[in-house]
Subunit: 466 residues, 4 copies
Amino acid sequence: MRLLFTIALAAVTAMAADNGVLGHVSAHAGRFGEVARQIWETPEIGFRETKSSAILQHELAANGFEVHAGVAGMPTAFTASYGSGKPVIVLLGEFDALPGLSQKDLPVQSPVTAGAPGHACGHNLLGAASALAAVAMKEEIEARRFRGTIRYYGTPAEEGGGGKIYMIHAGLFQDVDAVLAWHPADHNKVDWGSSLANNGGKFRFYGVASHAAAAPERGRSALDGAMIMLNAVEFLREHVPQETRIHYIITNGGSAPNIVPAFAEVSLIARNPEAAVLEGVWARVMKCAQAGALASETRMEFVQGTNYANILPDDVLADVLGRAMQKAGGYEYTPQEREFAEKMQKTLGAATGGAGPEQLNISHAEGYTSASTDAGDVSWVVPMGAFEAATFVPGVAPHTWQAAACAGSSIGRKGMLVAARTLALAAVELFENPAEIHAASEAYRKRLAGRTWTTHITKDARPPLD
Amino acid sequence: MRLLFTIALAAVTAMAADNGVLGHVSAHAGRFGEVARQIWETPEIGFRETKSSAILQHELAANGFEVHAGVAGMPTAFTASYGSGKPVIVLLGEFDALPGLSQKDLPVQSPVTAGAPGHACGHNLLGAASALAAVAMKEEIEARRFRGTIRYYGTPAEEGGGGKIYMIHAGLFQDVDAVLAWHPADHNKVDWGSSLANNGGKFRFYGVASHAAAAPERGRSALDGAMIMLNAVEFLREHVPQETRIHYIITNGGSAPNIVPAFAEVSLIARNPEAAVLEGVWARVMKCAQAGALASETRMEFVQGTNYANILPDDVLADVLGRAMQKAGGYEYTPQEREFAEKMQKTLGAATGGAGPEQLNISHAEGYTSASTDAGDVSWVVPMGAFEAATFVPGVAPHTWQAAACAGSSIGRKGMLVAARTLALAAVELFENPAEIHAASEAYRKRLAGRTWTTHITKDARPPLD
Amino acid sequence: MRLLFTIALAAVTAMAADNGVLGHVSAHAGRFGEVARQIWETPEIGFRETKSSAILQHELAANGFEVHAGVAGMPTAFTASYGSGKPVIVLLGEFDALPGLSQKDLPVQSPVTAGAPGHACGHNLLGAASALAAVAMKEEIEARRFRGTIRYYGTPAEEGGGGKIYMIHAGLFQDVDAVLAWHPADHNKVDWGSSLANNGGKFRFYGVASHAAAAPERGRSALDGAMIMLNAVEFLREHVPQETRIHYIITNGGSAPNIVPAFAEVSLIARNPEAAVLEGVWARVMKCAQAGALASETRMEFVQGTNYANILPDDVLADVLGRAMQKAGGYEYTPQEREFAEKMQKTLGAATGGAGPEQLNISHAEGYTSASTDAGDVSWVVPMGAFEAATFVPGVAPHTWQAAACAGSSIGRKGMLVAARTLALAAVELFENPAEIHAASEAYRKRLAGRTWTTHITKDARPPLD
Amino acid sequence: MRLLFTIALAAVTAMAADNGVLGHVSAHAGRFGEVARQIWETPEIGFRETKSSAILQHELAANGFEVHAGVAGMPTAFTASYGSGKPVIVLLGEFDALPGLSQKDLPVQSPVTAGAPGHACGHNLLGAASALAAVAMKEEIEARRFRGTIRYYGTPAEEGGGGKIYMIHAGLFQDVDAVLAWHPADHNKVDWGSSLANNGGKFRFYGVASHAAAAPERGRSALDGAMIMLNAVEFLREHVPQETRIHYIITNGGSAPNIVPAFAEVSLIARNPEAAVLEGVWARVMKCAQAGALASETRMEFVQGTNYANILPDDVLADVLGRAMQKAGGYEYTPQEREFAEKMQKTLGAATGGAGPEQLNISHAEGYTSASTDAGDVSWVVPMGAFEAATFVPGVAPHTWQAAACAGSSIGRKGMLVAARTLALAAVELFENPAEIHAASEAYRKRLAGRTWTTHITKDARPPLD
């Protein structure tokens, strides 16, 4: 049972004067709105976000941050730092787009360039809002002479590439006290929720080709290997915890029907709310693949793909963010925005009775979303608080053309301001009250309960840059 | 392409005077007809043929044979020997019935005792005809003072138990020069044909039970193991030589649907015209079973069942038998027998245009029947000639109620005489002309082509007596 | 999140004087303890509970109830009624045992008769406790001159036979205002929970037999039909709501491996917390079965088995029962009982940290247990309240030898008294305050939300008595 | 058992003077060798053989044939005719190349253009040799004033497109008395053999996409449809005649693992030596596909692909061709050709003990090759004789780079001459002796045995030109 405290707040502007940091956010809001739009106009997929990364680096450097680019072996990864000493607070930024989801800022499906990438997960807003909060915070540190360090981490390729994992391996989170993160959504929400841990990759089967009519007995079918594996996976479904997800496609199922396939490839992802449970499931998926190879006398080779941990919520940082969002407030649509929203909602199949952007959903609810993110991995190595801000029209799901359209619209940019304000207010509270950081660390340790982070993206692995 | 020389011969009785041994067969025909009927009336399944074995032992001992009972660790196995020195000629006898095929000697389906065994493979005739030939031959040896030994081997449990294999392991074929064998059928035939090698057994899967609704994820389904194995076997079919056969049943598929099955059992048989090819296929079936266990996290245990080699035909002994059958001749139905045959043929689904019992099919045709027999194993360790005699109405297949009915009728006993006469005449030719035995041995070596007999029924295995 | 109010109560006896009806329960407790033991000693499976039903009928008649036996076409079903007019309150009684679970009243596995039935679901206690409550209530009606009717329904074959469904079809619940039910468990609990709806039956495939080596192409494998169906069912798992359960066994997988199976049979059960959702899932299982027949050119025949609806909790009756259980109280073990419990817990695999019999778990928690019951169907046609009482040692699950042992022990009989007292107190409250019955009816209508009860056990179906 | 008469003949040139038509072949051999090479140098795939078709049309027109281009709705199909009245003898020509098999005329793998088509089935030789024979025959008709008509049919897209089937539908074979055909091979052979009938196409499954982690229950997996179909096909294998072949690939197995596949596609071919048996098998494959759709709640759509009948051999025309090939003779390698052959044979995996190009394999052997051809369809509507000529190095199989290399070499052109001489000599015999044509027609009718040609390429189907 979830206890929800939904609060309709007065307009954002009315509160600006109350707090210095919100004033800084307002001062830079226009500029960073432009930054978000600029990244939206040049959508770049994971590890190739050269321009997007450069734009953000430029803004942060121009505002007095010390920028290190190309960190952790990734050309588009960077850190930007201001201040010194403890606490060290990191704001996470992402900026990669999704392939094939090019879309104009219109409430009808209309790609800018058919087949091109698009910002259907709103990472243009994500990267820009965190940068805006960092700059506002830097000005607040200056103004109030806070001790400590604010950092912005530019993390590439969240959509499967797992840039943050390489940054963890590179030690970039070792001296960090708290991480604050957010994600675009169709609502404003802070809770104690989590995400799904996932693991995936390609299972390649190698057999022996033979003429399928003249000498099938001399062939060893790689496709048989894949089929036997996948049949076994179907039987596995009954015997894993019901929250588990296993899904796959066959990316190569043979080259010609009259040739016994010498090669076949399966792309498979498994998920579970708990990384440790997922490990057990994964070991069994692997056995299914081995069984496919064994029974078909083929060879199986596994190529590691995405592997993200579930988010470990930090109860204290979630409370800090909840308070911050209450102060930050939601926003209301202009008549034009309302029209845009209504038109868009008509394109959605199902009814959309979700909360509007003026509402805040703040609670201690646990549970998890079906998404997976490499921010999950960060949350296993350092206390992390995360929230969602309403950048999409209610009812719009990420990875849709509707999300891409919102991410380029004024609605997206208003939601981005909710995020920036929330991040900035939370960071101020942490600088004001170092005891919170200690409490967050305790809460984090309690959640870990002795467990340690593990990943299949090994320390010596190189990012799949191409 | 088969070259068939089909010869309609004059009635059997007309030829009796021509040859001493046929006279001896005629003299004992009535008695051994009674023996065959007596065994038919007390059908006993493999390794439990106590009465059937005792009847045959009694007749052979009463006719001057030296009988050794309980050989090779099997209570119902025996050897009966007459004469001394080389050559040593063995006639094979079988006498086991089949479960569930009880049937009266009528052309309509009517069990004597529902569910009880019946002689649906005609082994009552097989055992009696070979014994009759042995007794006739003994008298011919006496009459013509032949040097050498005639033996009758009482071999239990041909229907899956493989009695002959234990007799091979016990060394009982080591000093044998030639083996003559026959089998009941719906036609008279001598050729260079073979049989199917087979191998089989039970695949037992052991899992972990769990409540299937409350905690399926804690169970490991033994039935899943069996299903994954069998699915893999289906994929295997495309990639084995097309003459291969693989067939199975599920003998235990779980105990209650709301319990994850902790046990499941598959009974599977594979066959191929070549034992060596079958070995390769079998190794792959085993991998499928291992894959089933691997993918389902269950344990697989294999219990060896029947494993029979294909018959290696001996070209020379086949020619000797062909000549013998030409002299032995076929037989004609009485009006009553014709009526019986016609009534029975109406119970058969398909058209039955097969050759009648008066016809002889003698050729050099190769090929194979779809049956499997442990006489196949004998043929790998000593030169063996084998043929079929028309004990069943044309169109009747073994292992049917129709075959069981014929095996108890006068038709069966007439076909049995064709067999006894052919065996006796062939044995006489071998005693008369020892060069044939040498030639048979050469032909045998040529067929072997350097291969040696192997079996999964290991030398230290104990017969599955219960 | 569940809010639990766990209350340790003073001993039962201390409260006896407070309330007339508890006095009546106490007065008859010894006698009905003997009844429960007597039924335990003569365990009878569903529809064959002749003696068990007779014992209960006898007791109720002897206490002034009007008994109708053999109702709804079932020899062991009966109704027993006292009083007249509204309200009509029904207490449900069950008394069938489970096959193969014979067990002595000892904390070690030791069947009375190996393979015989046993009361491993505690229905001996269930039937006796409800009868005890009915008798106590009858005396309270007399004493306080309540208007209304108390009834006891003897419902056979809860373990798969669905006796209550035939009683619904027979109209026996048409004039009923409220039903009170309970079930033996390892804890005392009242909440707003539900059970799983289930549906099941046998899928019979009919093919064409053929010799699997000689002519497999002439056969149509019934086992193939079953395997293709079941493989399809495995693929279905991914695409049904995750709470769904589908489990099956293969009850006939062919008769001999060398014969293409002409018959195969699958026993399958599907479950879901919502009967309506289950209907959708079931339609798809049926399509899988049809697909198996279609692809294998066999014929499929479905034989309906158990089909139980999920329990619709009645919020008001649950509250009434919660208050009643608080008054009824739990109980404490004697030193001997504690020793018995500890010995038994050592035979359980997992740790058993459950609440003791002195604790009461009363809440508004929703959720569901993984069990299915035909009491679920009753709850769709009349307001029903249900609870569990601690008749089993903590950690003991139904359908185990441990449960059967407890059901025969003094622990079982103490738990049975918790149940009888709770039932009696709740019935008194309903008689005292008819507004509760109206409120219960409102709550029931709200839960129904316009839905109506459906079942695959059609009105003209006859109970599977043999 | 095959009876082979293998005859080593004297060199081809020595025989030229013996027969007028061989003289004509010799006279044009150089020119048509160039034609074959020219087509080899411009390999064009089925229905796009614009240049190849034009070259052949040009040569035939230049030699006095009346050419009709673009017949039967196919731009590259044509007929070329000379003479008038009966008999009408047709020589079949093919000229399409295979995709991806570009290769230089060298004994090492070396494409002219990687990925481009190549003449790996030797159709450049096939088309040129038949045209050469046609021209030689035309000169013989003129010289000997034969009555009757010689035609050359330019038949496109033998490699899957089935050009000849559209030509049958267009009535182009209605007045034809006999068809003579040949195919490049690694040996010279005339017998009574056949080919495999085949049928194939694409099975497209349409489902409903859904997020595979968030809402798999809302999706209907098209890939599930394909998997269930293919699993069922695997079970089908046991129950079809053992000579049957069924082989498939998965051409589309979903687009992203986190999306329930809305589309999947299987490409499947089935084959059997008998078109009628194949029809029965095909109907069952179709049921498997329907079962896949039924069980997965997806929609299945079948797109017809190649459907070729098996060749019905004409015993009389085979004898005519056998005699002709004996007169035509084989050929010997030059030292350079021997070196080429030996180098190429080293690139072949297995031992290559096949007969050399100087040997002729002429027999009445039946049996079939594992290939399928639309010449098979022609043989069901008109008497057809077909043979193979040694254009490839012994051991080289069609559809390999080695075959493409040979087809461009002098070895290919020498084999082409064997074919042209055999065709021409056979045609002369038929013109000389019209009784042969009558006998061929009788033999054809006997083979048909009342059966009629059927095809899934319906009369109103349009050739898949693009």
